[in-house]
């Protein structure tokens, strides 16, 4: 048996599951978004649902909000994760404990984190009441809107809290495997601290950073639960909007929901493509 065939056969079960579940689901979604559903007699596919989506202002507002959430969360998490990894790779007393605490919230589900944020940061939450009690604001309602707010601060806070350790752990492993000698070489050749980071360490950890942050971007762009709990009502994040359409009493809205789901998938693929290209060009030149 050739190696290729062997690899193919070994991968076959996983590939089958992926193709059936992923492509199958995508296929059905696509068909539905095109108003094609022979079971109930819809046999003439059309682009009506897409037309409706693209002509509604809410869709564009939702897209902007969702992009803002994903982009800001990804950039903030990446920057903070790099900082955290740089600190944690040093030798210091109590490092093991800090490292453990740092990774602890990887195990906390997103939903739990979101509810925590709701309790702490909403205008009727703990921080609002504390601030009012200490006289920093006259009543809890004056607390700045960090939840259900148009800038999605609560959502971004939640994502950053959750994704910094995720990216950080990957980068830390990466840095520990590299060791410090590459930077030492750079320093001895005349690079200052910043230059050694910018021109040597960053490009070296870049592949890991890129994959981790792409995952974060894709996840935050398509995730439903956090914006549903912490997000503003209008405009809602794209996945929330799609879900609303899907559960609308009007069955006519279903193809629209599907169209939106397909658009979300295409958009994330497209944005990730550009993200990878642009960052590759800038970091490693």
């Amino acid at each position: 048996m050739s190696d290729r065939l062997k690899i193919f056969l070994l991968l076959a079960p996983a590939l089958t599951a992926i193709i059936v579940l992923f492509m199958g689901g995508l296929g059905i979604g696509l068909a539905r978004s095109l108003n094609y559903m022979p079971v109930i007699g819809l046999v003439d596919p059309n682009f009506d649902a897409y037309w409706t989506v693209f002509t509604s202002q809410e869709f564009y507002l939702s897209f902007l909000l969702t992009f803002h959430i994903s982009f800001t969360s990804t950039v903030l998490s990446s920057v903070l994760a790099i900082g955290a990894a740089l600190l944690l790779r040093r030798q210091f007393i109590g490092r093991a404990i800090i490292n453990f605490l740092f990774q602890l919230n990887l195990t906390v589900p997103h939903l739990v984190g979101a509810i925590g944020i709701l309790y702490l940061f909403s205008q009727s939450g703990s921080f609002a009441r504390l601030a009012a009690e200490w006289g920093m604001i006259s009543r809890p309602g004056d607390f700045p809107a960090l939840v259900f707010d148009p800038y999605a601060i609560g959502i971004i806070l939640q994502y950053v809290w959750k994704e910094v350790p995720f990216i950080g752990v990957i980068l830390l492993a990466n840095m520990q495997a590299l060791g410090e000698d590459y930077e030492s070489v750079a320093r001895s050749l005349g690079a200052n601290r910043w230059q050694a980071f910018r021109h040597v360490l960053l490009p070296l950890i870049f592949p890991g950073l890129l994959s981790a942050s792409v995952m974060v971007f894709a996840f935050t762009f398509g995730a439903y639960e956090i914006p549903a709990i912490l997000g503003p009502n209008y405009p809602a994040a794209l996945p929330v909007l799609a879900y609303r359409k899907y559960t609308d009493v009007d069955l006519e809205a279903r193809p629209e929901a599907m169209a939106m789901a397909i658009i979300i998938a295409l958009l994330s693929a497209l944005m990730i493509f550009f993200y990878v290209r642009i960052s590759r060009r800038n970091i490693r030149s």
Partner: protein, 344 residues
Amino acid sequence: MTHVSLKDLTKVYPGSKVPSLDRLSLEIPTGELTALLGPSGCGKTTTMKMIAGLLTPTSGDVTFDDRSILREKPEHRGVVMVFQNYLLFPYMSVADNIGFGLKMRKVDKAEIDRRVGEILDLVKLPDLGKRRPSELSGGQQQRVALARALIVQPKVLLLDEPLSNLDAHLRFEMRDLIRSLQQEMGITTIFVTHDQEEAVVLADKVALILEGRLCQYDQADVFYKRPANEAVARFFGGQNFIAGQSTGAAFDSPLGQLTLPQGAIAGKGTLTFRPENVKIGEGQSNSLNATLEDRIYLGTQTRLRLRVGDTMIEAIANPDEVGGFDVGGPVPIHLPPQTLWVLQ
């Protein structure tokens, strides 16, 4: 042009009880090539990193031309260190690797290109500028690492085992290249190796470090003729050590009374002589009757294990000279007085 001196340089790594380097003092004259010689783990890389500013000494000082540089950042010391495993930046082309130091100094692009081209010729790698380091052989990578260091015209060049990963042929070539570049540019160079032959061939002076301590710092031939102690002599291939009593002119030992060269120390001591200095046949003095216990033919030379009374002696001889002797039979030998050396 920099005179480097190390003063009681000591490093204890955090979490370790014994010093990895213990009070090392060395004077390295301007423009000379000095070898730091010692077995694996003796603290050679540690020393280099402290000179380069990549590691902070626990105590002691490093001065360049009598000025302490410990407070200066690595990038301001004018020291470049070439690491044991090259560490070329994998995501850059060879030319970008070599130009790295100039780019950090904000030299303009055209100037960098020109100097990279020059130095590629100097290390005999023209035409390879566009390749990635992973597309080079070990010897080529080594030369790129060297070029990357030389291009910034360092005051002090530190080479950490530059030849250890090369095959015998390349090693020879690199050795000559390093020696000629170093002399041409007059850079004060410290060169790490665990190979005594390499140290002897390349260096003006050799510092032998054993277990974190300096054992001897001398010109290469002195290590063979007048080793400071038994460990030094053994490191340089010495095998014959015979305890006894010296009068200054003669040495009383189980081998009998042997005539010593002038200036030998008196008192209890250990007599040593190198295997290649054991001469076959009768001599004017120090003649002994030995028994041949074993013989190993090594191509250009033959190793002999000899016994005199109860004392074993290791010798190296020309194969033609000893072809006629049988194992178990007698062999006349002598030990020329000027090749004997008494250790305290």
